[in-house]
């Protein structure tokens, strides 16, 4: 087990290094000249030369890469934003926690919904086929349209849920984790916690529906395959109910493929998060990204890619290890 974890972490570091190399390469080929973007069209030749020197752009590529890597590893600094002229790190620290909280909530909802979908359709619970149709249409619906539908139905018509932001409290705590649901509990403010949950529901469900269907489908097909196996028949012969057979005997065997699918879906979910944030005016990384895109602010995009890429790689490493926990036969 220890060997497996060590090996996985080694692979993870290699992938992260690859990501940094890719981003550095993209920065080199990007046609936008950072000096030009920063100083504007009328800058004098000396000012341009000076700025190039300050940014280290007059040094050889290998030395630039070493510098980039050094800043990244020892200062967690992916560079300076051309637009805000602040370190991308500062911007990320401001916007990223809200995004990660939303993504985590979406992932939890996707897992729960996916499992319910798989169990209900496998056991052929009454009404499960209608449930399935709804979810498949939901999976063909872009997250932004789900968000719009959610706002219209639950905010404008029913008035049950809020339509924008993370909370309606102006005196929300700003630490220590910057995750509002966690912070409110740490400060013992239950009404704020409830408010944060209410703000999370609509955007989180909007991003969760697609991944939930993907996870549910994979889990369902593994469950059905294992229900026909000999050990399931033995369990049935002992008089166990189908639900108990699924939960106690089959789930652990069948969960591997669904876990891989979950890991993969996190990547697609990030795109959903960036989009849905704009529907709900969620103060996360989404707006930052679309402004950076408009202004060709590559360091900002690179920073976001790096953080989301790292989260994705870490989650998939955890998934790999969990798979080995669920099924000890897995080696390497």
């Amino acid at each position: 087990m220890v060997a497996l974890i060590a090996k996985r972490i080694g692979a993870m570091l290699v992938i992260l290094f690859l990501l940094v190399v890719v981003l550095f390469f993209l920065k080199q080929i990007s046609p936008g000249d950072p000096v030009h973007l920063m100083l504007g069209g009328q800058a004098s030749a000396t000012a341009i030369a000076h700025e190039r020197h300050v940014l280290g752009l007059d040094r050889p590529v290998t030395s630039q890469f070493a510098h980039y890597l050094d800043r990244l590893i020892f200062h967690a600094d992916p560079g300076m934003s051309y637009v805000t002229r602040r370190s991308v790190r500062t911007d990320l620290a401001t916007f990223m926690p809200a995004t990660l909280e939303l993504a985590a909530a979406g992932l939890i909802i996707a897992l729960v919904l996916g499992t319910i979908l798989a169990f209900a359709t496998t056991l052929k619970v009454r009404g499960s086929s209608a449930f399935r149709v709804i979810l498949i249409v939901g999976a063909s619906t872009p997250a932004f349209l789900l968000g719009v539908a959610g706002v219209v139905l639950f905010y404008e018509h029913l008035g049950w849920l809020p339509s924008s932001g993370r909370t309606s409290y102006l005196n929300a705590p700003t630490g220590p984790t910057h995750l509002l649901t966690v912070d409110s509990l740490l400060h013992g403010r239950l009404n704020l916690f409830w408010d944060a949950i209410k703000h999370l529901v609509l955007p989180a469900v909007s991003i969760a529906l697609g991944p939930a269907v993907a996870i549910g489908r994979v889990l369902r097909s593994s469950l059905i395959e294992d229900l026909g196996s000999d050990y399931a028949r033995t369990a049935r012969a002992k008089g166990l109910t189908e639900l108990r057979i699924l939960r106690k005997h089959i789930l652990r065997n069948a969960i591997g493929a669904a876990m891989s699918m979950t890991g993969l879906q996190v990547g697609l979910m990030f795109a959903g998060v960036l989009v849905v944030e704009q529907v709900f005016s969620w103060p996360g990384i989404g707006l930052y990204v679309s402004q950076a895109i408009q202004h060709e602010d590559f360091p900002a995009i690179a920073g976001v890619t790096l953080v989301l890429g790292a989260v994705y790689v870490v989650i998939n490493t955890i998934v790999d290890v969990l798979q080995a926990v669920a099924d000890p036969r897995i080696k390497v």
Partner: protein, 290 residues
Amino acid sequence: MAIAEPIERAPLVELPRRMRRPRLSRSRRFSWLAASLLLITTVVAVLAPVLAPHDPTTTSIYPFASPGQHGFLLGSDSTGRDLLSRTLYGMRTSWFAALVVIVVGVLIGTLIGLVSGAFGGWIDSVLMRITDGFLALPAPVLAIAVVAALGVGLVHTLIAVSIVWWPFYARIVRGEVRKLAARPHVEAAKLAGAGRLRVMLRHLLPGAIPATVVTASLDVGNLVLTLAALSFLGLGQAQPAPELGLDSALNITFLSQDVWVSAIPGLGVVLLALVGNIAGDGIRNLIDPE
């Protein structure tokens, strides 16, 4: 213990050919119907300029017209442009964009997977490490970074998404080719003196096609959704070109005024994604019935 051999009985009467051939089962007919949706949608996309009642970029003095008002079948947007025409043109762009990325992804993936699976050894290791490296990164986020480096525009978005989309196909093709390479027919072909290229193209590639086609057809819906999300973030065509994701994004500001201006382009995406998913299921059932 002796097991009785099943006895092959010759049919007593040779049935007329017409009666011997089983009719298409109901589910098979349904699958064909579903698969043909791909063709129908492509035809509609090609004919969009003919079908659209208005020019998608011409503004009028009737903003936020409700459906049917002033000759706008689905109403008009904030600058009085016809929503139906904009959505039809937008669907055309999205559909062809998704097909282009699938084709490019399949071609690159097949090439890499085939070479990797057929050669094996260090070539296989190197190619698959690269492929795994790409697969280990979140595709949409990486695509955003590539577009940011190349500059915003639909062509750059298609290049970026193709770059992050091929590794998936490389894995599938390589897996199929490895399985096939161990089969006797490949060994027989080699012994018969077939060159490496001939073995690859005649004896390995055809076997990898079914799995690739099934995966690709199931992927159309995913791709439509991913491209719509990127377009929503401003990575597609610039305004005033009709673009489903961006139209939806820009019209969200008017949500309290008129829901449909934002929802109708989104529903266009739903239609395309549903076609992709239903047709994909149909093609899978036809090629690989469980």
